[in-house]
């Protein structure tokens, strides 16, 4: 159980992009920072900023499993919940029960060994509360997608823990009024793939109603792919029809509550179809609330007017604090995301393969899907690889063939 096995899966893609000191990394993040703030405040008038929005999202996809992501605790209280019941009281109850759980979970062996190196420690509440509030009021919320996590398989005390809390903190679920067996919590999660499990009356469990997978350590977990809010392109009628379908299915899934007054206008409930193939409809999942955006035929001025472009890049350079400030002048050899394909970060050491007998790989960035990669031809053998979706999972197929 070496440390390097600790959950390399979803981290190293991101790490790699940091490490290789790619000049575009810096550019992208500063860009996204400044623009994400603008996006919030000018909710509806996003037309001209679309290209930048897209860039921001692609950098965020790598966020999926970052342990240190703070805004996990930005729970939305259910609207019927009284204010007094929220926050402090629940945090305390989590604290106590998690310490009592401690021994129990250790005894459960490697049940949680996806992060075996990090024992279950209750995070300092003061600090996390602080972050929570900062995020509630701040504008960072734009990058977060509200996700409702529900539990319907019984139990008194139900918590969820997962990659979004670094597996350290447990977030309590609250009953849904009117649905006796349903508990839920609304989380603000960054775009990406999140893995989690439930702790139901001190027992580690997974939901039968959410997608499941085996992680690199072989643990069976629930997972959920949070995708960036889509633009409002779907015909209205279709949405209405879907909404109706949803209502018929309340027992399985709760409709997402509007997040705030502003979001209520801007966000739209978007549902994924039930079917995962071959008549299997085991789980339903809700994703994606998005601000209303439109496509436009007009090329933004920054691409057409040299003076605007110059001004734009000058601003960028100033924000860089003169680090790599001429980086944008040199075009990249490859689109930066293609330099971080999962295959290159797959370590084939003996040590790794001992634990990793299912060949688990890091979650690929969507933009690398359906590309054909090849290795140099050795010994007259050609090796090509392609990452494709298989239902809701990703298969990296590697084919060895002789050179004819």
């Amino acid at each position: 159980m070496a440390e390097e096995n600790k959950d390399v899966s979803m981290l190293d893609v991101r790490d790699a992009s940091k490490d290789d000191g790619s000049p575009y990394e810096g550019t992208d993040s500063s860009l996204s920072h400044s623009l994400s703030q603008m996006n919030i405040d000018e909710g509806e008038e996003l037309g001209s900023q679309r290209p930048q929005m897209a860039r921001r999202k692609s950098t965020l996809i790598f966020n999926d499993d970052e342990d240190e992501i703070p805004p996990y605790s930005h729970h939305q209280e259910h609207s019927e919940e009284s204010q007094t019941n929220s926050g402090d009281e629940r945090e305390t109850s989590i604290g106590t029960s998690s310490s009592s759980l401690n021994s129990d979970r250790r005894e459960a062996g490697e049940a949680d060994s996806g992060n075996g190196a990090s024992p279950l420690v209750t995070v300092d509440h003061g600090e996390s509360e602080g972050t929570t509030q900062a995020h509630g009021e701040g504008s960072g919320q734009d990058s977060m997608v509200p996700v409702d996590i529900t539990w319907q398989q019984g139990g008194e005390k139900v918590y969820v823990t997962g990659s979004f809390t670094g597996w350290r903190k447990m977030i309590g679920l609250v009953p849904v009024p009117g649905h006796p067996d349903l508990l839920h919590v609304k989380l603000q999660l960054p775009v990406g793939t999140h893995r989690f499990r439930f702790i139901v009356d001190n027992e580690l469990r997974f939901s039968d109603y959410l997608p499941t997978a085996t992680d690199q350590m072989g643990n069976f977990v629930n997972y959920l792919e949070v995708i960036a809010p889509p633009s409002q392109e779907k015909p209205q009628t279709k949405d209405k029809q879907r909404d109706n379908e949803n209502k018929n299915d309340v027992a399985r899934r709760k409709t997402t509550d509007p997040v705030s007054a502003r979001s209520r206008i801007a966000l739209e409930i978007e549902k994924e179809p039930d079917e995962i193939g071959n008549g299997f409809t085991r789980f339903r999942e809700e994703l994606t609330l998005g601000p209303s955006l439109e496509y436009t035929q007009d090329i933004p001025a920054v691409f057409t007017d040299p003076t605007v472009m110059e001004q734009y890049y000058l601003t960028l350079d100033q924000q860089q604090n003169n680090h790599q400030n001429m980086a944008w002048l040199t075009p990249p050899q490859l689109p930066p995301h293609l330099e971080n394909v999962p295959l290159n970060s797959y370590t084939n050491s003996q040590n790794d393969s001992n634990e990793n007998n299912s060949g688990a790989l890091p979650i690929p960035n969507h933009v690398v899907l359906n590309h054909l990669a090849t290795s140099s031809i050795k010994h007259n053998t050609l090796c090509v690889a392609s990452i494709v979706r298989y239902k809701r999972k990703y298969v990296t197929q590697i084919l060895y063939a002789p050179l004819q």
């Binding site: 899966s9 459960a108 062996g109 490697e110 049940a111 793939t193 893995r195 027992e203 039968d208 997608p211 499941t212 997978a213 085996t214 992680d215 690199q216 350590m217 072989g218 643990n219 069976f220 997972y223 193939g277 071959n278 299997f280 999962p342 295959l343 797959y346 084939n348 003996q350 393969s353 001992n354 007998n357 299912s358 060949g359 688990a360 790989l361 890091p362 979650i363 690929p364 010994h379 007259n380 053998t381 990452i387 298989y390 239902k391 809701r392 999972k393 990703y394 298969v395 990296t396 197929q397 590697i398 084919l399 060895y400 063939a401 002789p402 004819q404």
Partner: protein, 322 residues
Amino acid sequence: MSATPNEREKVIIEQKLAVESIRSFLKSKTSYDVLPVSYRLIVLDTSLLVKKSLNVLLQNNIVSAPLWDAKTSRFAGLLTSSDFINVIQYYFSNPDKFELVDKLQLDGLKDIERAIGVEPLDTASIHPSRPLYEACIRMMDATSRRIPLIDQDEETHREIVVSVLTQYRILTFVALNCRETHFLKRPIGELNIITKKNVASCQMTTPVIDVIQLLSQGNVASIPIVDNEGYLVNVYEAVDVLGLIKGGIYNDLSLSVGEALMRRSDDFEGVYTCTERDKLSTIMDNIRKSRVHRFFVTDDAGKVVGVLTLSDILRYILLGEN
């Protein structure tokens, strides 16, 4: 440790309930459910040379791979260590056929099978959306240690190889994720799951080719190596033949099995033993922690009395306690 009849009764009931619970878990999950969110799958083209395919397996640290026939765009079975064993046996009885063996392609393996008169391996496969339980049963019926998951492309209706499930993967999955395994406290001697009859064994001085023949005849994955008195000293596994013929050299077949073992890589897990008093919970613990594929059952003196293979364990979990 003497247990009162009451305690014994309780252990028996607990074990029965635990097995049933694991079984219903396997029935409730599909093969697709247990795939990682992202994983790799290495596929070999059937026109690849056998000796090259061996290098690919060794490079990627795997012992088997699905084959793909590019001419028909179809899945063409699995390449496993038994294919290499067949080739070794063929070459041993036809030493003049070096040219043929050297230029043998993966699609020629069927001819080798026919030439040496072994039964072609069952090419059972299953759809990923079928329950794990069904996949296990089908694998067991085919007396195979692995089963490919095959789906159809929605548009082209061509076969897609999704992944390959192995007994080992399923049992580690159960060991890791079913807490019920802690309640499997009956001694394995009671369960009638140990293979005791016809356990072939060899000695360190036995020629490796004879051991390979034993592997092939018994359709087993390992042969225990014992000393003169019958004490267990080592094991020769079917996967060890991959290292033996590394680089396409089939000239080392005159080695003794002891010499052949020198080629084994340093990360060999070791030989696992147990006694008939051990419990399945302990066995599952070991499966969870180590890359173990069988346990040799020894008596108190250390002599081999039988073997508990992954198939034995899986069969018990699938069908036992009825």
